[in-house]
C-alpha cells in the first residue's frame, strides 16, 4: 500500500489533475443543485470524455463530479426546498426553515462543511478498511435489506409526531404509488390501465420534483411574499458554523458519516436512505428533538455528512468486488471497465497506483470542495434576491426540463405536475410530503426484497427462518421497534418532566 501512496500523492498534485478536480466539483455542484439533474446523470455524461484521458485523470474527474453533485443537491434543498438530488430530501427539513429565517448563508455553509466532513470520513474507510467492509456488505441479503427498509420507513413515526395517522397515511400512499409498473418478482404490469409507459413505474426523481419543488412553487405563489425568503448575509457566518460544529456536532457528524458509509456499502441503498436514517438517529439521540425541523444545524449536519459519506462506502464494493454500491458507482465501474481495468481485491496491487490515486484524490476533492462550494454558495444564494414570480417560472422550467431529461419521457413531466398537485392539496389537509417521498423511495426495495424472502423460504422451509435468523436482521428489527416507540417514550418523558416542574412550582408556591 505504501509503495503506491507516494506516487499516488504525486499524481494528485499534478496541476492538470488539480484543475480537473476543481472543474469536476464546480460542474458537479451545479448539476446537483439543478432539480432533475442528478449525480448519476452528471457522471454518466462525462464518462465518454474520460475515454480521451489518462485513466487516472478521468477517474479523478468523475470522483470530483460525484462528490460535488451530492453536495450540490443541498443548495436547492436549502434555498427553494427542492432536493437537487434524491439524497438531500432530509436536508430540506432544516435547511429551508433556516433559509426562511434569513439564515440561508448559514444553512449553505453548514451543508458544505458537513458534506466535506462526511466525504473525508467515507474516504477514510475506503482507504483503510475496504476488504473487511466489503465482506460485511455481502452479508446483506434479501431479509436484511427488507428490515433495513422497514427501519427507514419507521422514520415516519418520528418525522410526523404531530399527527402520526396522517404521516402513516402519506407513507402508505407513497408505497401504493411505488407498486405501479412491472412487478419485480412476477414480471407482470400492475396499475397501468393499459397505458404502456406506466409499466416502467413512477420514476423517483420526477415524483420528488413534483412533491417538493412544484408544490413549493404553488405554495410560494399562494403566499403574498415578494421573495422566497429574506436574506441577510452576515460577516462571520462561516466561522460561526465552524465553531458550532466543533462545539456541538462532533458526535453527530461522526455517527452520521458512519451511517452514510455503511449504507453506501450496500448495493441498492444510497444517499437517499442514508441521509434520512442519519437525520432520524440524530433527532432521536438529541436532548431536544422537538426543535428539529425548525432550522437547526444538527439536522443539516446529519443529512449532508451522511449522503457524502455514502460515496466512500459505495466505492468499496465497486473497487473490491466489482459490485457497485450506488447508481453512480455503477457508472464509474463502467468507465473503469472501458479503460480495461478489472475490479477485484487485486485492484489494489495490480493497478495499485490508479486505485490509490483515485482514493487519495477523494480526500483532496472533499477539502477543495470547501472553497469551491463557498464561492458557489454565495452566487446561488443570490436567488433569494430575485423576485418570487421569476424564481417560480425558473423552478417550473427547470423541473420540466429536468424530469424530461431523465429518460426523455413525457410521462415524467405529467408525474411532476400530478405529484405537485397531490402534494399541494395534500399539504392543505396536513399530509406529509416527506413521508410520501419515503414510501415512494422505499416501496420498490421493500417489495423486491420481500419477494426474495418468499423465494428463499422455498429452500429454507420456513419464512420465519428467513426473516429472523440473521443477527443483522435482529439488530435492524430492534432498531425499528425503538424507532417506532421513540415518540411515545419522549412523550412520557415530557409529561414526567412537566409534572416534576409542576410539582416544583407548587412547592415554590
Amino acid at each position: 500500500m505504501t509503495d503506491f501512496l507516494l506516487p499516488a500523492i504525486g499524481n494528485i498534485f499534478e496541476p492538470l489533475n488539480l484543475l480537473l478536480m476543481v472543474f469536476g466539483l464546480t460542474g458537479g455542484i451545479i448539476i446537483g443543485a439543478l432539480p432533475g439533474l442528478t449525480a448519476t446523470m452528471g457522471v454518466a455524461l462525462m464518462v465518454p470524455v474520460t475515454f480521451a484521458m489518462d485513466p487516472i485523470s478521468g477517474l479523478i474527474m468523475l470522483g470530483a463530479i460525484y462528490a460535488g453533485a451530492i453536495y450540490g443537491g443541498a443548495n436547492s434543498a436549502c434555498l427553494i426546498r427542492t432536493p437537487g438530488t434524491p439524497s438531500s430530501v432530509a436536508t430540506t427539513f432544516d435547511g429551508f426553515p433556516m433559509c426562511q429565517q434569513g439564515r440561508a448563508d448559514e444553512a449553505l455553509y453548514a451543508s458544505l462543511l458537513a458534506s466535506a466532513f462526511g466525504g473525508v470520513i467515507g474516504t477514510f474507510f475506503l482507504l483503510f478498511m475496504s476488504a473487511p467492509l466489503a465482506r460485511f456488505a455481502l452479508k446483506f441479503g434479501g431479509p436484511e435489506f427488507f428490515w433495513l427498509c422497514i427501519f427507514g420507513l419507521s422514520t415516519i413515526a418520528v418525522m410526523s409526531r404531530d399527527n402520526m395517522l396522517k404521516g402513516l397515511l402519506s407513507g402508505a400512499f407513497g408505497l401504493l404509488v411505488s407498486t405501479i409498473g412491472i412487478d419485480p418478482n412476477a414480471g407482470y404490469p400492475r396499475f397501468t390501465f393499459g397505458y404502456y409507459p406506466l409499466s416502467q413505474g413512477i420514476e423517483i426523481i420526477p415524483a420528488m420534483i413534483g412533491l417538493f419543488s412544484f408544490s413549493q412553487v404553488l405554495n410560494l405563489l399562494g403566499s403574498d411574499k415578494q421573495y422566497i425568503a429574506e436574506y441577510n448575509p452576515r460577516k462571520g457566518a462561516f466561522m460561526a458554523v465552524v465553531r458550532k460544529f466543533l462545539h456541538d456536532c462532533k458526535v453527530n457528524l461522526l455517527r452520521s458519516s458512519v451511517i452514510g458509509t455503511v449504507v453506501g456499502l450496500l448495493p441498492g441503498a444510497g444517499g437517499e436512505i442514508a441521509s434520512i436514517i442519519a437525520y432520524n438517529e440524530t433527532k432521536r439521540w438529541d436532548k431536544e428533538p422537538q426543535r428539529f425541523g425548525t432550522g437547526v444545524h444538527e439536522g443539516l449536519a446529519a443529512s449532508e455528512s451522511a449522503n457524502n459519506a455514502v460515496i466512500g462506502g459505495a466505492l468499496i464494493p465497486m473497487l473490491t468486488l466489482g459490485i457497485p454500491g450506488s447508481a453512480v458507482a455503477a457508472v464509474i465501474l463502467g468507465a473503469l471497465l472501458a479503460h480495461g481495468i478489472q475490479p477485484g481485491f487485486k485492484v489494489f496491487t495490480a493497478t495499485g497506483e490508479l486505485a490509490y490515486s483515485f482514493i487519495v484524490s477523494q480526500f483532496v476533492v472533499n477539502i477543495l470542495m470547501v472553497p469551491v462550494g463557498y464561492l458557489l454558495a454565495k452566487v446561488m444564494a443570490k436567488i433569494l434576491n430575485i423576485r418570487l414570480t421569476l424564481v417560480a417560472i425558473g423552478i417550473v422550467t427547470l423541473s420540466v426540463i429536468g424530469s424530461y431529461a431523465i429518460r426523455n419521457s413525457m410521462l415524467d413531466v405529467w408525474v411532476v405536475l400530478g405529484f405537485g398537485l397531490i402534494a399541494y392539496f395534500g399539504g392543505l389537509v396536513g399530509m406529509d410530503t416527506g413521508a410520501m417521498a419515503l414510501g415512494i423511495i422505499l416501496g420498490p426495495m421493500i417489495e423486491e426484497n420481500l419477494g426474495k424472502c418468499f423465494h428463499l423460504s422455498k429452500a429454507e422451509g420456513s419464512l420465519w427462518n428467513v426473516f429472523f435468523s440473521s443477527p443483522i436482521s435482529i439488530v435492524l428489527i430492534v432498531l425499528t421497534a425503538l424507532s417506532v416507540a421513540t415518540p411515545y417514550l419522549l412523550e412520557m418523558k415530557r409529561k414526567r418532566q412537566a409534572t416534576c416542574a409542576a410539582e416544583k412550582d407548587s412547592v415554590h408556591a
Binding site: G141, G187, L321, I323, A330, V331, E448
Partner: protein, 320 residues
C-alpha cells in the same frame, strides 16, 4: 437564476458538441441519425454502442445522436424504435431474448416483426457460476443436487422474463429438476448475493461475471463452443447438457425503412463489426463480440420466438 440557466445552456452546448461529428453531403444519410439506447447511459448496451460509434465516425458519414429511453427492462426504448418514423434517421439497439419475451409475456407494445434487422453485434452466453469455496465442482454436481433435493438449491437469476429465467425454465423441464429461484434486479445484486452466500449458484452472463472472476468459479458456458474470455471453462454441451442460452445485442431500424437505406446501414455495420481494431476494443471492454448479418439474425429471432412461446406456454406464463 439567470446564471444557472446560462450554465445549463452551456452544459447542453457541451453535450451537443460531444455528439457532433464530421458532416458529409450525400443522399443518405444527410443529417445525423438518432441512435435509441433502451438502457441507461453508461450501461453495457451504451458502452457497446459507443465503441461502434468510434468506428462509425471513421466512415466519414453523418454522426449518431444518442437518445436514451430506459425503462421496463428495455421495452420502452424498443417500442420507441418500432414506432419511429421509418425514414432511416432513427435506429437503435435491441436485445434478444428481451424483444422476444416482452411482447409474449408482458404485453409490450411492439412485435418482433416491427423491426428491420441491421445485424447482431454481441453474443453474451449464459454461464453457471458458483463461489470459489462452493462444494459444487461441475454443472453435473449442481444439477444432480437439484434433482436429489428439489427446491433446495438456491439459484440467483436476473429477471423475471430474462434470458436467465428462460434458461432456468428450459433446464427445469428438460432435466426434471427444481431450484428455489430468486430474482434480482441486476447483475450487480445477483453477484453480491452469490458472493454473500444468499444463493448457491447463479445463471449469469460472461460480461457480468468477468467483474468478479477472482471470487467465482465458472462451471460451464451455455454456448455451442467455448468462450474467448473463458477458454478453460467447458461448455454445458461438453458436460452432457444440451443447453444453449445467451443474450444477443443487435441493431435494428423500424420495419418500413427504404430497402436501399437498410442496405447502406447493413453494409456500414458489417464494415465496423469486422474491423480488427473494433474487435480489440470490444475485447478490452469485456464485450463478447459476434457478428451475424441482418437476414440471418431475423431468422434466428423468429426461431427463438417460437421456442420461447412453447416453453412459456408450458408453464402458463403467456400473456393472454
Amino acid at each position: 437564476m439567470k446564471l444557472r440557466l446560462g450554465r445549463m445552456f452551456l452544459l447542453f452546448a457541451l453535450m451537443l458538441g460531444l455528439c457532433a461529428g464530421p458532416a458529409f453531403a450525400g443522399s443518405y444519410p444527410e443529417k445525423p441519425i438518432n441512435m435509441i439506447i433502451a438502457f441507461t447511459a453508461g450501461g453495457s448496451s451504451d458502452v457497446q454502442a459507443r465503441i461502434m460509434q468510434k468506428y462509425w465516425n471513421k466512415l466519414g458519414t453523418e454522426s449518431w445522436v444518442f437518445v436514451y429511453k430506459a425503462g421496463a427492462g428495455g421495452a420502452i426504448g424498443f417500442g420507441e424504435i418500432a414506432h419511429a418514423d421509418p425514414d432511416g434517421y432513427t435506429i437503435g439497439g435491441v436485445n434478444v431474448p428481451h424483444i422476444v419475451l416482452q411482447p409474449l409475456a408482458q404485453g409490450a407494445q411492439f412485435k418482433i416483426s416491427d423491426f428491420a434487422y441491421i445485424c447482431q453485434v454481441v453474443n453474451d452466453p449464459q454461464v453457471v457460476a458458483v463461489r470459489k469455496d462452493s462444494p459444487y465442482k461441475s454443472v453435473k454436481e449442481v444439477f444432480d443436487a437439484a434433482k436429489a433435493a428439489p427446491s433446495k438449491i438456491k439459484l440467483g437469476l436476473v429477471g423475471p422474463f430474462s434470458g436467465h429465467h428462460l434458461m432456468m425454465l428450459g433446464v427445469k423441464s428438460t432435466y426434471k429438476l427444481d431450484f428455489a429461484e430468486v430474482m434480482y434486479k441486476g447483475a450487480a445484486d445477483q453477484n453480491a448475493a452469490l458472493l454473500g452466500g444468499e444463493v448457491d449458484v447463479i445463471f449469469g452472463n460472461v460480461n457480468d461475471v468477468m467483474r468478479s472472476l477472482d471470487q467465482l468459479t465458472i462451471l460451464g458456458v451455455a454456448a455451442e463452443k467455448r468462450n474467448a474470455f473463458l477458454p478453460d471453462v467447458p461448455t454445458l454441451k461438453e458436460q452432457g447438457y444440451d443447453v444453449i442460452s445467451d443474450i444477443r445485442r443487435a441493431f435494428v431500424a423500424p420495419k418500413n425503412i427504404a430497402p436501399e437505406r437498410l442496405k447502406f446501414l447493413r453494409e456500414a455495420f458489417k464494415k465496423i463489426a469486422t474491423d480488427p481494431d473494433y474487435l480489440a476494443d470490444m475485447k478490452k471492454a469485456g464485450q463478447p463480440a459476434e457478428y451475424m448479418d441482418g437476414a440471418e439474425f431475423e431468422a434466428y429471432v423468429q426461431k427463438k420466438a417460437e421456442e420461447d412461446r412453447v416453453l412459456l406456454e408450458s408453464y402458463g406464463l403467456l400473456k393472454k
